[in-house]
């Protein structure tokens, strides 16, 4: 069990740079290749986090209709 909670406040220094890097990673890729990249990225990040409770919170936060 984790006592951590998912960070949902700004946490990435240089947010614009990161976002540009994320878009750049997809540049020139077709839909299938982009989807595959996203899938690999999710798996790599999830493994880095490694905390099952945080991952469940992240899945809930990302789910559709979570407007609050």
């Amino acid at each position: 069990m984790s006592d951590q909670t998912l960070t949902l406040t700004p946490n990435i220094p240089g947010a614009d740079d990161f976002y540009a890097e994320l878009l750049a990673a997809h540049e020139g890729l077709d839909k299938a290749a982009s989807d595959a990249l996203n899938a690999r990225l999710v798996l790599i990040l999830a493994n880095h986090i490694g905390d099952r409770a945080i991952l469940s919170q992240a899945l809930a936060a990302a789910a559709p209709n979570q407007k609050d």
């Binding site: 595959a36 899938a39 690999r40 999710v42 798996l43 790599i44 493994n47």
Partner: protein, 537 residues
């Protein structure tokens, strides 16, 4: 030369029951002489219970069918007196390779834990498996045990009568009636008895088909499990190559659900597929080919009065993970000692509720694991395929992704957590031997622990005093006294004590832990014995 599966091993012979004026009554009738039915019958006969096995055939399994046997079932088979010939004949393997598309993405080693008498897995054709069990039946008969197999005795009708089951049997010489105090239906995935009694399956249903081929070849392939995701020779599907004894290779090719089974089975369609897989230069001979359809589901309850269901008759899983025959043997391992206590009048029929609880728990675990494997192997949506392929791609380069690859989670024994037969865990010991767990094996003197437990209630004491024998509610519990002073491998300490200085384990006849405590406590142990036979809440 005839193959073993072409020779009648229990040919039809007329029985006196066929000429009886009224149906003959038997204590237990087992329907089906497959691995599970024979396992149940041998176990019963070893415990002195009269048992009759009926089978609609007279030969062992045609073709290899169930090929992969795990450690726990081998331990059970050893208790039944036929584990060692299976290990001697079987092929042991530890290395698995995973291929994706045209390339190998990684390989794994099962790295079996030391200090177990039996290997993690062996591969053995089901016909050998059944032959060794039939040999064991013959051996028991020689020794005067009350066990009989009747070949070409097909069950036409079963009626549950409250205190017995009435059975109508068809033979080459006509029909006859039988009665059984208890009937164990081990009549396979299509269980005619289940159908006759109108007991249907519940749970998630899906269907897939596999082309299963036994191929004889002199090939350089090593003794490894090779699994392909989406290979060029079977696009969009999976494939498995596994070695069996006698130079026979087992090949499973997934076909999907919407196929023409008769067409796919024809050699002119099978051989090109196999050539594409093995390479044109490999010489091979097709020994057996079959289409296997599976579903993942189970019966709502494994008992209907005096009729009990075990093995594939009660539950079905996908072939990934070797959870079919392996879990069926754990069913009868769980069932037979309970049935014996009931037949002896020591326990009430209510004890069988725990068969349902414990083995449904096992079946659900198997169905969960095999459904997850199936979801990985056969992605059901575009995004699940994208994620699956991402895992496989990453697994080639990064170790972290390999545990996510699911080509079948190989069968491990079930721990009966929450069973009504368990007493609360009173020892601060290792989780692996908590109440409900199958006892982990370990070296003991010149042998191993599990054969010392046998098939009776045992009180295992480690660095603890206790009576050598306890009589409680008709049960005799015999002590097995061990000490960590005589534990050169340290495995007794590690597997049964952990950080605790001493321990007392009450172990059931199926070698599962019923209770454990730091020291002997007469009141608590007696309560635990009663609880383990369903006589105390």
């Amino acid at each position: 030369m005839n193959k073993i599966f072409e020779i009648p091993l229990y040919a039809y012979a007329r029985s006196a029951d066929q000429d009886a004026a009224t149906p003959a009554r038997h204590r237990v009738v087992v329907v089906g002489a497959g691995p599970i039915g024979l396992g149940a019958a041998i176990d019963l006969a070893q415990q002195g219970i009269e048992v009759l096995v009926l089978d609609d055939n007279d030969k062992v399994s045609f073709g290899s069918r169930a090929v992969c046997y795990a450690k726990r079932p081998l331990e059970i088979l050893d208790r039944l007196g036929c584990g060692k010939p299976m290990v001697d004949k079987g092929v042991e393997w530890n290395i698995g390779k995973v291929f994706f598309d045209e390339r190998q993405v990684y390989q794994f080693d099962l790295l079996p834990e030391d200090g177990h008498e039996f290997p993690a897995f062996i591969n053995l054709q089901q016909y050998y498996f059944e032959e060794y069990m039939v040999n064991r039946v013959r051996e028991l008969q020689q020794a005067g045990a009350p066990i009989e197999i009747r070949g070409r005795n097909r069950v036409l009708k079963v009626e549950e009568k409250g205190d017995h089951a009435a059975i109508l049997v068809d033979t080459p010489e006509g029909q006859y009636g039988l009665e059984a105090d208890w009937l164990i239906a081990c009549d396979g995935a299509t269980s005619p008895i289940r159908a006759m009694m109108g007991l249907d399956f519940v749970g998630r249903v899906f269907e897939d088909n596999f082309l299963i081929a036994d191929v004889v070849m002199e090939a350089e392939f090593p003794t490894e499990r090779w699994f392909w995701f989406d290979p060029p020779f079977n696009r969009g599907q999976s494939a498995l190559l596994h070695k069996q004894p006698d130079g026979v290779w087992r090949i499973d090719l997934q076909l999907g659900w919407d196929i023409d089974k008769e067409e796919e089975k024809k050699p002119e369609n099978v051989i090109p597929r196999l050539k594409a897989m093995l390479g044109d230069e490999v010489e091979f001979e097709l020994e057996w080919v079959s289409i296997y359809t599976f579903q993942c589901r189970r019966m709502e309850t494994f008992r209907k009065g005096r009729v009990l269901f075990a093995g594939d008759a009660a539950h079905q899983v996908s072939p990934f993970g070797a959870r079919g025959a392996n879990s069926g043997l754990q069913d009868t391992d769980n069932l037979v000692w309970k049935l014996k206590l009931i037949l002896d009048g020591t326990a009430d029929e209510a004890l069988l509720d725990s068969y349902d609880f414990e083995r449904i728990h096992g079946a659900d675990e198997n169905i969960l694991n095999s459904s997850r494997s199936t979801d990985f192997i056969t992605p059901k949506s575009e995004i699940s395929r994208v994620l699956r392929d991402a895992v496989l791609d990453l697994s080639e380069q990064y170790e972290f992704a390999r545990p996510l690859v699911n080509s079948g989670r190989l069968s491990v024994p079930c721990t009966y957590d929450g069973s009504p037969l368990n007493s609360a865990d009173a020892l601060d010991g290792p989780a692996r031997s908590r109440p409900g767990s199958p006892c982990p094996d370990l070296p003991l003197g010149d042998g191993y622990l599990l054969p010392r437990l046998g098939d009776r209630f045992t009180l295992l004491t480690i660095n603890a005093e206790a009576p050598d024998e306890i009589e409680e509610s008709g049960i005799t519990v015999t002590r097995l006294a061990l000490s960590t002073a005589d534990d050169p491998t340290g495995m007794l300490q590690a597997r049964y004590l952990g950080d605790a200085p001493s321990g007392v384990y009450l172990i059931r006849p199926d070698q599962h832990v019923a209770a454990r405590r730091p020291a002997y406590d007469d009141t608590q142990i007696r309560a635990a014995i009663r609880r383990a036979i369903g006589k105390e809440q």
